[in-house]
Symmetry: C2
Subunit: 577 residues, 2 copies
């Protein structure tokens, strides 16, 4: 039972049949065709040699198939994680050096280790710190950064930088070195890919193609762009006229590699690795959950951590770099009919064949084509509607998304997403720091108590009843102290304060001490403090403290009892019958 | 009106009379006598020349009297803030250099500026991030660190370090240089001061002294120790036998000084300044609130920020260092009958006279006596009962206090208190990340719904009703997604899910998107999603989103309506009449 939890393959593997096999094979062929140019392109985005992208799509897919719980998720390099990788490694090594590739392995290793640790400790909840608006804002800003960073390949110039101002400044400075043949290739490829994405499918349908064929053509579009531009470079010798090409890629299966494990390297990459893990996990889980729901299946987020962790550790030892479950490839996999994770394994086989046999064919592939592939892919991530949606819905979410977008663009991905998390938490705590507290009175002729400002209720100048509409904890404990003190100092005739705890689910130690302070201060003023409608678990807790021993008043089961008791005692108001 | 808010002196100043004056004068004399040795000692603890402690007690007191709202708070150097000052400045300058004193001024200036900023922006709530257990743990650990750091003066050796292991290691290494005359003076002074604190008052009462006289004698104890040890050094020439003494202190009013404002210095001291501000503010406000309550007065925390901010800026320009409202001096001030903040101003005059006239008298005062004063004062701060109390009351508070104590002792004050804050917030978020969700059914013959696991209630295999007992926000949004998905995939016969929102006070944008995802996934499974008992403000919010447009079900005013409607529709259960 436990083994099955950690090895989901034991679940679907034993019922695997011919039908599932043929479905999986079809899906694998389609995904493989789509992944070849995509893998090369994302490796370019990460600043790594092109083969790293293919290697990162082989072992990780197989490991995820063994350990992962989603039946349709396709694991491999994705745009945002590639950008994060480039940003993290750029701080410890120079692009193109051996140290850079080793750092990428280390990053994948640390990220995999962190994910597995979270999975084993069942700490997947930590991913929730990334709120939806922060993720949406971060992905939009990342899409813009990625597209901007690829412009250099379209222009055939060089430009570095991890923030939008840096990238734009460098593009501007090096604009004079623009290679116009590259520009022509790049612009045509970009235009073509946009057209494939938007216009090809409707056109083919009008020409009488079946939806499946039209879909397939759309997915093969990048391959067509790759073939045409590669042939152009080869036939016209454009590489000798300054068009930058992929060049020679080793013809080999994924090599066995060792991530660098020096303490300095680990220290420099640990925080980025955690960030990459969490962002990759959140993206992956939401894709997996959406696809699973369509077939009334379930995924186990803690086991997903283990699956993705294994995939990243696999990438670290086979010449790859950090990977996660990609949105577009998973949807393609699902739509193509993948029935089990075995589809992923067949994709891995397809990519392994490509790595051994097809790599010489991409020698003349221009970088501009890969950049076009990336730009077209990531611009679909850019979606500013989150600003409008949060603006309409909630001011604090709007602030969080705005801060995330601006800081990601201006200060880089790491500061951007970290600020988003911090500001979301602060805004949430701020909201709960001033809980709603209503002063209530008795609805005549009933035993109900309502807000004195909204209803016509009985009150007594000697008695103040405050209904607290939130759990009490350290962030709002002092607020209650101040509120009670300010209310009681308003009128010298007050003799009793009743705190009505019907909506208080928790009283932490700070709140307990605040209640003790309120009790002490009210005692000093000669005012009684009573509690009413305290929930069972809260009362059990309070009984373990000494608040109830020193309470200058009583604990009442119901607010009505409390009211009757204190108004009787003070003897000024007729008891309500 | 507004001017009065910012200048509380306009409030009490216009009713100031002879009675208040004589009360304030008496309090001022008592506090001044107590403050002279204390100020010298805390300056020593902060690593500053002794006069800095006196200067820091003059201008700040006057400024607080003008801007502060508490009538009894006495502002000046305190032990914990002195320790924090030493720790912060130790990182940018060498003790005894001019740069060290200038950095102390900068720290006071930044701290004052930050407090004023918080006050003007009315952001006093940020201080709540320091939960009571974290403060208690921090103060206990700081007391130990302070006492340990003063041992070198008792032994007459030198030792640096900002963590307990560092201090102990240095004491151990330099033990060979112990000056035995210093040890004798130090141990006698410490023993005498402990006896004054514990045994003098009962003794004098037994000997027939009035409580006031006994109290006064207790407070004058440190002065006696100062006088006796100073005379001993002078008469026997002990300073020539290796006893370290205070030496010459300039005879002057507080000088006009300028804090260093170089960007490097500001960058290095900004975080410590914020920490000092917040810790000082929290301590000060809780003392002020306790004393105000005794006379049914109120303090305004946001105005307190301005008062303390002004005091610190005053310290920065008059040769002082960071100050705050001290516990012991405030209580003494209050007990001695201080009626208005004017008492503080008279204390300032007393100290100014001391600074001009009395400083030559402390030339032969041994550092060991000052160290004894500090040790006796801070050991009263050490109180491990917080461990027991939180252990009994709540596991998460116990973890927070333990982490704070250990990290403060082992890693220093700044890391200690910062970790305490972070861990408190994380534990709180963790607690709300898995809200209580009860599956409920209809109590037969009523319109009430109760937990199906605790009560004998009607259920329907086609309908799942989940009552959510917490507001929904980004930290717990995905929890709900997973819970619903896991519940629905359990039984294929489920046709309706009702979410009962009676205890949901907020639905943030992330939770909204989770509800949309739940709705979409349930739609894919052919299951309806309904909401019931949604509170007015929450429903208003939801109406601004498009969730309700796409909801695959309805929103019901009451759970009973929802139940009747879906059980009617599914047509399998007889409608409850």
């Amino acid at each position: 039972m436990n083994l099955r939890r950690y090895l989901p393959i034991l679940d679907w593997g034993r019922t695997y049949d011919r039908g599932a096999f043929s479905n999986d094979m079809v899906a694998a062929v389609i995904v493989t065709i789509m992944l070849i140019p995509q893998s090369l392109a994302y490796a370019l985005l990460a600043g790594l040699p092109p083969e790293a992208g293919i290697y990162a799509s082989i072992a990780p897919i197989i490991l995820y198939a063994i350990f992962g719980t989603s039946r349709a998720l396709a694991v491999g390099p994705v745009a945002v994680v590639s950008l994060l990788t480039a940003s993290a490694i750029g701080q410890v090594a120079e692009q193109g050096t051996a140290g850079y590739a080793v750092a990428a392995l280390t990053l994948a290793f640390l990220s995999g280790g962190f994910l597995m640790l979270l999975g084993v400790l069942r700490l997947g909840f930590l991913a929730n710190f990334l709120s939806h608006p922060v993720i949406a804002g971060f992905i939009t800003a990342s899409g813009i950064l990625i597209a901007a960073s690829q412009f250099k390949h379209i222009l055939g110039i060089s430009a570095q930088g991890h923030t939008l101002p840096e990238i734009l400044m460098q593009l501007w400075e090096n604009l004079g070195q623009t290679n116009w043949i590259t520009v022509v290739l790049g612009v045509l490829a970009t235009g073509f890919l946009f057209w494939v994405r938007k216009g090809l499918k409707p056109l083919m349908r009008r020409l009488g193609a079946t939806p499946t064929v039209a879909d397939f053509a759309t997915k093969a579009g990048p391959v067509a762009a790759v073939v045409v531009t590669t042939l152009s470079v080869w036939l016209f010798g454009l590489d000798e006229r300054g068009v930058k090409i992929v060049g020679s890629v080793p013809q080999s299966l994924p090599p066995l590699t060792m991530p660098g494990l020096s303490p300095d390297l680990i220290q420099a990459l640990l925080i980025p690795a955690i960030l990459i893990s969490v962002i990759g996990f959140v993206e992956s889980v939401s894709v997996a959950q959406t696809l699973a729901a369509k077939k009334r299946q379930r995924i186990d987020p803690d086991q997903e951590l283990i699956g993705l962790g294994a995939a990243n550790i696999g990438a670290a030892f086979t010449g790859g770099y950090p990977v996660t479950g990609g949105f577009s490839r998973s949807v393609v996999n699902y739509d193509a009919g993948a029935a089990t994770p075995a589809a992923g394994a067949y994709t891995a086989v397809g990519l392994a064949i490509a790595a051994m046999a097809l790599t010489p064919l991409v020698y003349f592939l221009p970088n501009a084509t890969l950049a076009a592939t990336i730009i077209v892919a990531v611009l679909s991530l850019v979606d500013f509607s989150i600003l409008k949606k949060t603006w309409d819905y909630s001011a604090s979410d709007f602030v969080a998304v705005t801060v995330t977008i601006l800081l990601t663009l201006l200060m880089g991905v790491e500061i951007g997403v970290a600020s988003g998390v911090v500001i979301s938490v602060l805004l949430h705590l701020y909201k709960t720091s001033r809980p709603h507290v209503a002063e209530v009175g008795l609805v005549p002729g009933t035993q109900h108590f309502r807000n004195i400002h909204r209803h016509d209720v009985e009150t007594d100048p000697k008695v103040v009843t405050l209904r607290v509409d939130e759990s009490l904890y350290f962030i709002n404990a002092r607020f209650l102290e101040e509120l009670v003190q300010s209310r009681v100092t308003e009128g010298c005739e007050i003799e009793h304060v009743i705190l009505m705890f019907s909506a208080v689910n928790e009283v932490d130690f700070s709140a307990l001490e605040s209640l003790e302070a309120i009790n002490l201060r009210l005692s000093d003023m000669g005012v009684g403090l009573h509690l009413s409608e305290v929930k069972g678990p809260v009362l059990d807790r309070l009984r373990q403290s000494h608040l109830l021993d020193v309470l200058n008043g009583q604990v009442f089961l119901s607010q009505y009892d409390a009211w009757r008791s204190v108004t009787d005692t003070s003897g000024q108001t007729a008891p309500t019958s």
